[in-house]
């Protein structure tokens, strides 16, 4: 596994999970079951790198995402963003991390114009920019994600699923965060549209050098966008390898069954 | 959106509503009754209805009243304050004497009495009478009861006048001596608070007067559910005879006027008491029902609070101006559709009462009143006028008084409060926490009895809003002690004028009492005039019909 954190900030990992464990207790009495979502998971994401995280539903992917985003405090273990543990207030990390989540239908506030949704992170992280400067950044971002800037004036219900997910990506990048989590970001889209979004992410990452954690149950998508792949099986991190290595000969039996199913 | 006559009836066809509309159009109801009210013929002199002797059957009678008795001392008659309590307790307890349709004193437990001089009364007791537990009435019961009443310092002990001594002067004779002549003494003895109690059982503690009633009267209590119903059964060994037609009497407490009307219409009650003057015309049309209007000596009055610090009402001229502005006849015509008459302090239906049109406020001119208000600047202070929600008529009178006072530049804000708040702000608070108010009280059966309420030292309840006026108090005392009728009438007229000028308690109109009964169920005897609000006064003479 990766050695201790690197002093040099350029290659220091953007996100570090050390021995992170999370357990849920559901039901009660006889039916009381404790589900171990994450057992001692350790992983890192370097700047400019995309780590693919795969696993079946119920393998702890979503829990890992909320821990990585600081939405859930782990039962044990450490979570470091840019070397710092998550603090109580989220304002401190404003602008440094962002997410693109699964449901295109609910990724944008239906009652606000698309432009305003994209501009929102700036209002917290970049108070120094004036309103018009912020609007200018929004126009640039929309162009970068391949959308006509005029979309800023439209409402979410006037956009297709693919277009809405592009807006989410724009919103995620507008504050040039160091770390982005993509939690099943494309699984609800059509195959053709998925392709375009994945290509877009690769391209923007090359330009902005953000670290990304790409979570999905779809190996095809992970293969197209991830540099390294990590496999989660019932809360355990069973294998981590480079994408090329992983797809050529998976070590762990569970990884093998995943690949056979393709 | 104007709904004219034609479309309204067409639009409502078919629905239950149409039934009532059809009824209206087919003359069920008298169109808007013009002022002056419906004339009423008396069945016999002094009686609105007389029981038909020919009917010999016996049975049950149901009577619906608007509220139940709920006194501080439970069922003890001596401290009872409301007319409903007097009526209900009057079914079980009996008094020495009673009043007839002309307010004359008639014998009851005292078969006869003489007055050797104007401060001594000697009563002959009917010792054949027995209490319902079978024990015969004795002079000790009479003496004990009257002494207990005088000592009780209750409302009624004041009305009994200056009693000095009560002694048994023979095994069927009791003599009462007064400190000074007191004309209304016999009238005071005629009301339930002066009823004769079973003193032997009271003294030995075997009867608790607050919870049980043990009297010599015609009826016994079979069951009581507070605020719901009373059930009485005839007292088999009542000294007044055991041929009572009404063997079981049920009193139902129904506070909604429309529900009482409905019950009478559909025959689920034989008799009912009404407060709303329109019951007369609303029920008049139904055959089988007879509705009579009994003139009560009770009267509505306006309270003018002269005691509230730095209120314009401290000035008697302002109060008199307000009194002048109030038009009693208009109230009688509009609120009560002409079914009642104005009254002075002494209830106008009692013999010797003062005449209303001679009152100074009736003769004073409205313009003078308006001038007084302008001079004193009383107009620029908004006065509050509080009324009790328990009786909707109060609010109607208040709205009329408000308009009448507006004529002379006095602005009034009406505030409807529930009974508890009303009593606290008007009677408990010293000084009264209000400017004007409207209330009513019983007029009793002797003109000078009610005048006592104008002397706060004897009345207590109006200490918070009435001043003490020596000259008025003197007139009140004189009115009570003057036994010669003509001389008394003069004193009372002077008394009325003086109280009218002080204008702290301004009498308005008589409080009408409407009684409706189902002629196919009962043939009652009902007096045209009533002093103590007892609509069942002649229950013993009632006959059961059908």
């Amino acid at each position: 596994m990766m050695s201790a954190s690197h002093p040099d900030t350029d290659t220091a990992p953007v996100l570090e999970l050390r021995e992170v464990s999370v357990a849920f207790t559901s039901g009660a009495g006889a039916k009381r079951r404790t589900v171990r979502a994450m057992n001692a998971v350790t992983l890192e994401v370097a700047p400019g790198e995309t780590l693919g995280l795969v696993g079946e539903s119920g393998s702890g992917k979503t829990t890992t995402a909320s821990v990585a985003l600081g939405l859930k405090r782990p039962d044990s273990g450490e979570v470091l963003l840019l070397g710092e543990p998550f603090t109580r207030s989220r304002r401190a990390n404003a602008g440094k991390l962002q997410a693109v989540l699964q449901h295109p239908h609910w990724s944008l506030n239906p009652r606000r114009k698309v432009g305003e949704s994209v501009r929102e992170p700036l209002t917290v992280a970049r108070r120094d920019l004036s309103r018009s400067e912020q609007r200018q950044r929004v126009t640039e971002m929309l162009e970068q994600v391949g959308l006509n800037p005029a979309f800023a004036e439209r409402y979410p219900h006037e956009l297709s699923g693919g277009q809405r997910q592009r807006v989410s990506v724009a919103r995620a990048l507008v504050t040039e965060p160091r770390f982005i989590v993509f939690d099943e970001a494309v699984s609800a889209l059509d195959v053709a549209v998925q392709m375009q979004i994945l290509a877009l992410i690769r391209e923007l990452q090359a330009e902005h050098r953000f670290g990304a954690l790409f979570i999905s149950h779809d190996l095809g998508a992970v293969e197209r966008v991830a540099d390294r792949v990590a496999v989660l099986f019932r809360g355990d991190l069973v294998e981590t390898a480079s994408t090329e290595e992983f797809f050529r000969n998976p070590q762990h039996p569970y990884s093998q069954t995943l690949l056979e199913a393709l | 959106m104007l709904i004219n006559q034609r479309t309204r009836s067409r639009a409502a066809a078919g629905a239950a509503i149409a039934l009532s509309l059809a009824c209206v159009l087919t003359s069920c109801a008298a169109p808007g009754s013009a002022p002056g009210g419906t004339e009423q013929t008396e069945a016999a002199p002094g009686f609105l209805a007389v029981a038909d002797e020919a009917l010999t059957g016996t049975g049950a009678l149901t009577v619906q009243l608007d509220y139940d008795t709920s006194e501080a001392d439970g069922l003890d008659p001596q401290t009872a304050q409301t007319d409903t309590s007097w009526m209900i307790m009057g079914l079980v307890y009996e008094t020495l004497v009673t009043t007839d349709e002309n307010f004359e004193i008639q014998p009851k437990l005292a078969t006869s009495w003489e007055q050797p001089d104007d401060t001594t009364y000697v009563f002959t007791i009917d010792t054949t009478a027995t209490f319902s537990n079978g024990r015969a009435l004795t002079v000790d019961d009479v003496v004990g009861s009257l002494e207990r009443q005088v000592a009780s310092m209750s409302v009624w002990s004041g009305q009994m006048g200056p009693v000095e001594s009560i002694e048994a002067t023979g095994d069927d004779q009791v003599t009462v001596k007064l400190g000074s002549p007191y004309a209304p003494f016999l009238a005071a003895l005629a009301n339930t608070p002066a009823a004769i109690l079973p003193m032997e059982e009271v003294n030995d503690g075997s009867v608790d007067l607050t919870t049980t009633m043990l009297g010599t009267g015609p009826y016994l209590v079979a069951d009581h559910r507070q605020d719901e119903s009373w059930t009485f059964t005839a007292n088999p060994d009542w000294h007044g005879g055991d041929n009572l037609a009404v063997q079981t009497l049920e009193l139902q407490i129904v506070d909604q006027e429309s529900t009482r009307q409905a019950a009478l219409r559909e025959g689920s009650t034989g008799m009912a008491k009404f407060v709303n003057i329109d019951s007369l015309s609303q029920l008049g049309g139904n055959e089988g029902l007879q509705i009579v209007k009994q003139t009560q000596s009770d009267l509505y009055y306006v309270l003018v609070n002269s005691q509230k610090p730095d209120s314009p009402l401290n000035d008697q001229d302002v109060r008199f101006a307000i009194n002048t502005a109030i038009d009693r006849q208009a109230i009688a015509d509009i609120v009560f559709a002409g079914e009642t008459t104005p009254t002075g302090i002494t209830p106008s239906n009692l013999p010797g009462a003062c005449r209303v049109d001679e009152l100074p406020s009736e003769q004073a001119a409205i313009e003078d009143a308006r001038a007084t208000i302008e001079e004193t600047g009383a107009g620029d202070v908004e006065l509050d006028l509080i009324v009790d929600t328990s009786n909707p008529v109060m609010a109607q009178i208040a709205q009329l008084v408000q308009q009448q006072l507006a004529e002379i530049g006095v602005t009034v804000r009406i505030e409807q409060v529930d009974t508890a708040i009303y009593i606290e702000r008007v009677f408990s608070a010293q000084p009264g926490d209000f400017d004007l108010s409207i209330s009513w009280f019983a007029g009793y059966s002797d003109p000078s009895m009610v005048t006592k309420w104008w002397n706060p030292e004897q009345a207590f309840f109006n200490v918070g809003f009435t001043g003490v006026h020596e000259d008025l108090n003197a007139l009140i005392a004189e009115g009570a002690s003057e036994t010669d009728p003509d001389a008394r009438a003069e004193v009372l007229t002077e008394l009325c004028a003086s109280a009218d000028e002080y204008a702290e308690m301004v009498p308005l109109v008589h409080r009408p009492s409407i009684i409706g009964f189902d002629t196919t169920a009962v043939s009652p005897t009902i007096q045209s005039n009533e002093g103590y609000g007892n609509i069942l006064r002649n229950i013993a003479d009632y006959r059961i019909a059908g």
Partner: protein, 273 residues
Amino acid sequence: MTANAPAAPVVSLTGFSAEYRTRLGVTRALDGIDLDVARGELLAIVGESGSGKSTVSQAIGRMLPRVCHVTSGSVHVLGRDIASLAPDAIRALRRESLGFIPQDPIASLNPTMRIRRQLELALRPLGRPTDLESLTELLASVKILEPDRVLRLYPHEVSGGMAQRIAIALTMAREPEILIADEPTASLDAQVRDEILTLIVDLVQRSGASLIWISHDLGAVRRWCDRIVVMHQGRIVEEGPAAQVLDEPRADYTRTLVAAIPGRQDPTTKEAE
């Protein structure tokens, strides 16, 4: 247009158009569809979401939502124009001849009732035996391992694959002549998908019924279907035998669709970036 199969087609849509009229306005769903399905044929309809393929499947069973109005053309099932059928006639058609396999199997079961009770209720109107023994046998026929345990469970306690097997068992018990499966494996996990598809095709071939399979998964369609219809924006852009449509696509839209099949098809070659 394909040559007409000798026997009369079991399902034929002629010049069929429909549009959705909602508060947001009118959007055209189908634009002049001509489609015939022969008896025993395994037909796949592919296309993006919003291309109208689901609307076609609903039209066959006259299950169009209320906001969707037929503007022209007709649908004939087993030679009868379903628009003119009386309510109980269409119900009889659905009961005896048509079979539907839902996209979301768990949601297609009544959440408040145990599986056994639902099976009894569904099978009793058809006069099928509903005793415990025949129910377990029915579930075994769709390769459910412990049928008696499954019968006692509630729908939310069953896995997606298991629920789909139950749905299939329910449908096939009625021996339908036409089976319509609208993206039957969309909500299932990867390894369960193949088992379900093989089960469906096996049952269809054994019963001789025709299968209309709606999907956007070209890989799976290629393996099982005789003929493929490609739809785009409410119109059929291409139609033909599976191999020909996928290997030498004529319509340019089909070409882009085929290009979009992720590398899975051939795990060894990674798409050049």
